[in-house]
């Protein structure tokens, strides 16, 4: 007797499907188990990484079923995103059609593998039944004061007159379609205030004992907590001050220059007439570079001086003010102090531009440092601080700054607020209306979902397709009835996928995101199979949990 895999596999898949063997049972007293694989983007084909993760989770699910658990083992589709829109631009297939074709194909592939999913709980983030609740979540954030708008830069294609996603910009900074050099442009966009939760997230990481160390370290690095101070430098001859963030207040005496981000609002005000052309050219050049290039460690840092000086609040000395590509406007205060003697990057910068190096900390061994000395040591060249341990000097400088009104101790996080809006079509519409009288007004929850229209033309040029649909955009203000405009940005797809594991517990509920009575099946911490590269999404999950919990809408 020979083993014939294809007939045997088809036979048993049919038997299991007819018996409902893979359904997660809501009833009974048996213990529950949640086997959750990360749902895929419906590109059309499974890759080996999917097959592996899903097979691992399936083996766990099957074992738990045999052990008597009621197992929740669902599957769904992370279905919004750029590739569908690109297919529409390139081949004229509507994104919804392309996506649903791909879903059908991949579902068949998963079923052929014999993965024991409860298909009755299948969800796709692009279905109104699902994104209705994504929009509902957005409104919870809005009401809790955690969603707000501010200006942020986008990639702008000057030829096609359109906003580009990072993925649509090639390594030379050109548009994927027009080939034009991509520019930076400021747009008013939506953010989630995740920085409010930076400390809580960091503390929570400590409790995740079963997470691999590597992943926890990655998360902690991403949150990037640093203890330090904000210190204020007065600009000579102006009424302005520059506030810098530093983790090393003890090195304040060694400052050789102060450096601003090229986008810093003071750059225009402070630049001396003689420097104006040089500065303007440099700012324009940096505007074309990506953040990653600007801060890459293996790249020489570049800068120009503004032709003005600032007062060191500790020593009273004057130091030149520069701008440089490695300082980012969004991080900290958008300004830092340059201490070549005690910072590797500043040392390289000072060597390149002939800026002075003054050591204010010496090794306890009594050696004389030559390069950037970044370790703790003994204070030197620092007036009455001389001889003090540098760690003690750190708090002493902060104490003096606070007493003198020129600074204060601060905790800084690398984590920034989450820019969630995209000027794209194939995403979850942000359920807001802009009214000339009332400003930004939420769409009432009973009117959700704000359905994504499907009668859309794609050219890849000009404004977002949504903003050209008059009949969709023009609506009366929900608050006062005045003619108003819908928000035409859609949400980052990470928001769609940040809560799908909750929906699986109650995938067909029409009246709420999930009912508490359904929590029991999913109440256990899910066992999650997914790529490590995407583990950082955990932070996002956590923010959602806290945000929702804070709004009090759903009890966790």
């Amino acid at each position: 007797m020979k083993y014939n895999p294809s007939t045997v596999e088809a036979k048993w898949q049919q038997i299991w499907a007819e018996a409902g063997a893979d359904r997660g049972s809501e009833d009974g007293d048996r213990p529950t188990f949640y086997a959750l694989g990360m749902f895929p983007y419906p590109s059309g084909n499974l890759h080996m990484g999917h097959v592996r993760n899903y097979t691992l989770v399936d083996a766990i699910a099957r074992c738990r079923r045999m052990q008597g658990y009621r197992v929740l083992h669902p599957m769904g589709w992370d279905a919004f995103g750029l590739p569908a829109e690109n297919a529409a631009i390139e081949r004229g297939i509507p994104p919804a059609v392309w996506t649903h074709q791909n879903i059908a194909q991949m579902r068949a592939q998963l079923q052929a593998l014999g993965l024991s999913y409860d298909w009755e709980r299948e969800v796709a983030t692009c279905d109104p039944d699902y994104y209705r609740w994504t929009q509902w979540l957005f409104l919870q954030f809005w009401e809790a004061g955690l969603a707000y708008q501010k200006e942020a830069t986008v990639n702008w294609d000057p030829v096609d007159q359109t906003v580009l996603a990072n993925e649509q910009v090639d390594s030379e900074g050109r548009s994927w379609r027009s080939g034009a050099l991509v520019e930076k442009k400021k747009l008013r966009q939506w953010f989630f205030k995740i920085t409010d939760y930076a400390e809580a997230l960091l503390q929570d990481l400590g409790t995740l004992e079963r997470w691999p160390e590597k992943v926890r370290a990655m998360q902690a690095n991403w949150i990037g907590k640093s203890l330090g101070a904000e210190l204020t430098f007065a600009v000579v001859g102006h009424g302005h001050t520059i506030t810098v963030f530093t983790t090393r207040p003890d090195t304040l005496g060694g400052v050789s220059y102060v450096v601003l981000a090229p986008e810093h609002p003071l750059v225009e005000v402070l630049t001396a007439p003689a420097q104006q052309e040089t500065v303007a050219n440099f700012v324009a050049e940096v505007a074309r570079e990506s953040e990653r290039d600007r801060t890459a460690e293996d790249r020489p840092k570049r800068g120009v001086c503004l032709g003005c000086t600032a007062l060191n609040p500790l020593t009273g000395e004057t130091v030149p003010i520069w701008i440089a590509d490695y300082v980012l406007a969004e991080y900290g205060t958008g300004a830092v102090m340059g201490v070549p003697a005690h910072d590797v990057r500043d040392f390289a910068f000072a060597q390149q531009y002939g800026l002075p190096v003054r050591w204010v900390i010496a090794p306890k061994t009594g050696e004389t440092p030559t390069g950037a000395y970044t370790e703790p040591g003994v204070m030197v060249n620092s007036g009455d601080l001389d001889g003090m341990d540098s760690v003690t000097a750190k708090s002493e400088v902060v104490r003096r700054a606070e007493a003198g009104g020129w600074g204060q101790g601060r905790v800084q996080y690398r984590l920034r607020d989450w820019l969630i809006s995209r000027q794209r079509y194939w995403g979850c519409p942000i359920p807001m209306v802009h009214c000339p009288n009332c400003g930004a007004v939420p769409v009432p929850t009973e009117e959700l979902p704000v359905v994504l229209p499907e009668n859309v033309a794609f050219t890849g040029r000009g404004p977002s397709p949504l903003s050209t649909l008059k009949e969709w955009v023009e609506v009366p203000c929900p608050a006062c009835g005045t003619p108003a405009r819908r928000e035409t940005d859609t949400m980052d797809t990470f928001i769609d996928s940040s809560w799908y594991f909750l929906r699986f517990a109650d995938a067909r509920n029409q009246t709420c995101l999930w009912a508490r009575s359904r929590q029991r099946l999913a109440a256990r911490q899910p066992v999650c199979g997914g790529g490590r590269a995407r583990d950082f999404a955990f932070v996002v999950f956590a923010v959602f949990h806290q945000g929702i919990a804070r709004s009090g809408a759903v009890g966790f």
Partner: protein
Amino acid sequence: MRLFVLFKAPPEKDLEWDEADVEGQHRFGYRVWRLVTEYIAFSEKNQQGVNRNLRRDIHTAIRNVTEDLGENYRFNTAISELMKLTNALQEGDRHSETYGEGVQTLLKLLFPLAPHLSAELWELLGQTPALHEVPWPVWEAEALTVDEVTIVVQVNGKMRDNIVVPTAQSGDREVLLAKAQEAANAAKFLAGKEIRKVVVVPGKLINLVVA
């Protein structure tokens, strides 16, 4: 294919594709298929009782696979355990009842990893209900205890009998002496005599010097 991705690496390591390994997992699947179908065709099964050594292999596999799949998610070691059990069955005596227990256990433990193959074999074996409705096997501590050894009993240096003792006690002078005195054949040579000296070679023999 399923077995390959599971066998290849622990979850925290990245997967490297290897044709030879895929082939190896295929072979393992076919080995199980052959082992079980041959057993189905074997007409003299269940004619002898319990084989303690094979039973210990079976329950060791249950214990280890339960830990690997249910607790630590170590799929590669789970498959190694199943390969060991398959080897033990290949060398085992197909007449015994224990062999039948071994085949059934192998299929139950294999089900989460290779569900189609094991469900089919389970049905061919004539088992009901279908394998997806069968509970996970539970290991018995008693079956895991390491076995007994046979100790030679000498009287005045001549072999007179054998005794069987738990391995753990095979060097215990008091236990061996008591058992040796009870052994039927040795008892004949000890009757009416006085034991002057006892020599024990642990795990091997006990020599009673009498006069």
